[in-house]
């Protein structure tokens, strides 16, 4: 510790270089953490989903609905506790520039199926009672400035017409209204888009899926049944190679900055050859010289990491990037922060070891010749 002033003095010698190198590290880790967070946010869906919920959809294509009669048949399958259903509405609001999901749901059973939907008791009551009511997420409240009690008109692209449900609020980012509201206008077209079931034993999921799919295999509407988690990860995989790409770029960024930092550290050492020789002459051991240089590299990397990771956490919150829009729920996970710190430590070793080793191995007599 007593050598800390020496390390700081060395860092201060080329203030500009130290600042630039630290900032490079900060930028690298900012980018790295942000890119990794895009990936974790995309896959997050499969982590929040419950293992005891299963989804049944049409195996031919998800846009083809299933008959309403399946509800009763699904409910009679062993292990199935409850069944609800929903439809994708696919409407537009206003000019349609801002996309958000709308679902037609069977309110009573659906809200029981998803107890995690945070919704005030009085609003829930009101929603259940009123057939033309809708519940909306907080994200939409912010995006559109809607208030509870407003009538909002959504234009159906699949189900033509203007739909004007009254709003209630809950804590997520979608727009949900009564299945019956949709059904009463198109009784011959509307059947459930998919069913959601709750099972009493998550380990029975594969057996339940097999029973259901076998039962409907040769019907007009064959089914595909799986856990909610499997569907969510299937959905995340729709991004395809974009995730791999983000990972690759993250690596490239870290590597590029590694070059910059290593270069700066090597320059420092080259310039200080004679100093190191003097230090060794006055009694600094090889090991101490080595440690001092590693510490110097660590100060740069860790300061940079703190700045970069800090910015990655704060910027999305400050700019509201994580709320709605392109990547709802965008945030930097603890895992990402830890990986970031790991990268900074690696950076320390990779950029510091070679110059430190060179300095430690420096033959004093030769080096001293260069001292004026």
């Amino acid at each position: 510790m007593k050598f800390l002033p020496l390390v700081l003095a060395n860092l201060k010698r080329h203030k500009l270089r130290t600042v630039l190198t630290t900032l490079s590290v900060a930028l690298a880790l900012f980018l790295f953490a942000s890119l990794r967070s895009v990936v974790t946010t995309l896959t997050a869906g499969s982590e929040v989903s419950s293992a005891s919920r299963m989804i049944v959809q049409n195996s031919t294509a998800f846009v083809i609905p299933l008959p309403m009669s399946y509800a009763a048949r699904l409910a009679s399958v062993p292990h199935v506790e409850s069944v609800t259903w929903a439809n994708w509405f696919g409407g537009k609001y206003g000019d349609g520039k801002k996309f958000f999901a709308q679902f037609a749901i069977d309110p009573a059973t659906y809200l029981k199926m998803y107890p995690e939907l945070a919704i005030a008791e009085d609003q829930k009551e009101a929603f259940l009672k009123e057939r033309s009511a809708a519940i909306i997420g907080e994200g939409l409240v912010r995006s559109f400035g809607w208030k509870v009690g407003d009538n909002v008109t959504i234009q159906g692209t699949i189900f033509p017409g203007d739909w004007t449900p009254t709003l209630k609020e809950y804590g997520d980012d979608s727009f949900m209204f009564h299945y019956d509201y949709l059904y009463e206008k198109y009784p011959d077209r509307v059947t459930p888009g998919w069913f959601i079931m709750k099972i009493d034993d998550p380990t029975a999921a594969p057996a339940v899926a097999r029973t259901i799919d076998d039962q409907f295999r040769n019907s007009n509407a064959p089914t595909k049944t799986g856990t909610e988690k499997a569907f969510a990860s299937g959905f995340a995989s729709m991004w395809g190679n974009v995730k791999v790409l983000m990972g690759t770029i993250g690596m490239a960024v870290v590597f590029a900055i590694l070059l910059v930092t290593a270069n700066a550290m090597m320059m420092n050492q080259r310039e200080r050859t004679s100093e190191v020789a003097v230090m060794k002459t006055v009694g600094f051991s090889d090991r101490k010289v080595f440690t001092l240089i590693i510490i110097e590299a660590a100060v740069i990397s860790l300061t940079g990491a703190a700045l970069g990771l800090g910015a990655a956490v704060i910027l999305p919150i400050a700019t509201g990037f994580g709320q709605g829009g392109f990547l709802p729920g965008f945030h930097v996970t603890v895992g990402t922060m830890l990986v970031g710190v790991g990268v900074a430590l690696l950076l320390t070793i990779a950029s510091g070891v070679f110059p430190a080793w060179q300095a430690a191995k420096l033959p004093v007599v030769q080096a001293l010749r260069r001292v004026e």
Partner: protein
């Protein structure tokens, strides 16, 4: 008088490691820049090339994608009598009423849930004439009334049972794959085509999703659009096919471009810092040399130009390295989801000469920016002190 460039080149070789690291740093930035824009370009190109300017796509009024559209059968006969539709060599209108659905098919070598959404398009026998970019590269067209399908060339290798002669099962029915087609790299290459009458029965009942037809006169699009809107018997809206598909690429294309620029500009700042460090080190280690140059009568201006040139040359080589690193991804096929249709679309990275040139210019600019302050310091060295 100018200082010859040889001086800089020789100086650079005096510090090979540090120069190489700087160049490599800039090279990586350029590689990411080129690669990401090649991705965005590839995606946009695939959708832009899908439609053609003289084709019209009719969707139900209010529908914004083929998936959400629906046109009843009785409207088709009204539409086909439109005077704006071109006629083929046999005198029949070049029109293709199409069913459009996204089906699940099994990815190659994956488990039961490794499925992807792929477009299955039911077309009329005129579709191959309406869509001029379609070329059958293997096999023959599906025959009318048969369970036969054609598959786009980009599906091969990624999905099971999509080669000519295979049997692909979907919608509770076996379909013989009888041909493989290309479509000039467009998104049609990620689709499965079959006869509309066959697909209609098994998928969506008695209606079509859209109608594609060739305009008799490409200039008459606006007139045709008005005529269809005015027709009270049918509820359709006309879209120019090229614009319709190009619009689908807009959102994701813009996001990809934005990401490319944001990521590379942040990386560029880091690379510029690297260049600044290297050039300052170069200037300080060569202080006596610079003093000699100034004493010999070289103008400070020339010294500055010389150091700027040195930085630019290092960056230029970095740019070349970056382009070489990024070049192999040209033509590599990748895939993502076209969110307008919820289906997977495969496309190739497109590294164009313009993109490479932009990469090199980007590198040189990084070099010049990074070299500016060190070069200015070199030109302002106090000669007497420096000579000591």
């Amino acid at each position: 008088m100018k200082i010859p460039l040889v001086y800089n080149l020789r100086s650079v070789t005096q510090r090979p490691v540090s120069t190489a690291l700087t160049a490599l740093g800039i090279g990586l930035v350029v590689a990411v820049f080129v690669a990401m824009l090649a991705l965005a370009n590839g995606f946009i190109a695939a959708l832009t090339k899908t439609g053609s300017v003289d084709n019209v796509l009719l969707l139900r009024r209010g529908a914004d994608s083929e998936l959400s559209s629906g046109i009843p059968r009785d409207a088709i006969s009204i539409i086909s009598t439109s005077p704006y539709i071109a006629t083929g060599t046999d005198g029949r209108p070049l029109i293709s009423p199409e069913t459009y659905i996204v089906i699940n098919i099994q990815r190659m070598g994956g488990d039961a849930f490794a499925v992807a959404n792929v477009v299955a398009r039911g077309v009329s026998d005129k579709a191959f004439e309406v869509r001029r970019n379609i070329k059958i590269i293997e096999g023959r067209r599906f025959a009318s009334g048969q369970s036969e399908i054609c598959v786009g060339s980009k599906l091969a290798g990624r999905f099971a049972n999509v080669n000519v002669g295979d049997v692909l099962r979907f919608s509770n029915r076996n379909w013989n794959v009888v041909c493989r087609f290309t479509a000039d790299g467009s998104s049609f290459e990620s689709e499965i085509w079959g006869e509309n009458e066959q697909f209609q029965g098994v998928f969506r009942g008695n209606s079509f999703q859209d109608v594609a037809f060739r305009l008799k006169d490409p200039a008459s699009f606006e007139d045709a659009k008005r005529a269809f809107l005015a027709d009270q018997r049918i509820q359709v809206d006309a879209h120019r096919e090229s614009e319709f598909y190009a619009n689908q690429s807009q959102l994701l294309g813009n996001i990809l471009r934005f990401l490319a620029l944001m990521i590379t500009s942040i990386m560029a700042v880091g690379a510029v810092f690297g260049a600044v460090n290297t050039m300052y080190a170069a200037v300080s280690s060569r202080t006596p040399e610079i003093a000699v140059l100034l004493t010999l009568g070289f103008q400070p201006r020339s010294v500055m130009a010389s150091f700027l040139a040195e930085s630019a040359v290092i960056a230029f080589f970095g740019g070349i390295i970056g382009c070489l690193l990024a070049l192999p991804i040209n033509g590599v096929v990748t895939s993502t989801t076209n969110w307008a249709s919820f289906s997977e679309i495969a496309f190739a990275f497109r590294v164009t000469p313009q993109l490479l040139l932009a990469g090199i210019i980007f590198a040189v600019v990084m070099g010049l920016v990074g070299g500016f302050f060190p070069a200015r310091r070199a030109s302002k060295l106090p000669v007497i002190q420096a000579l000591r």
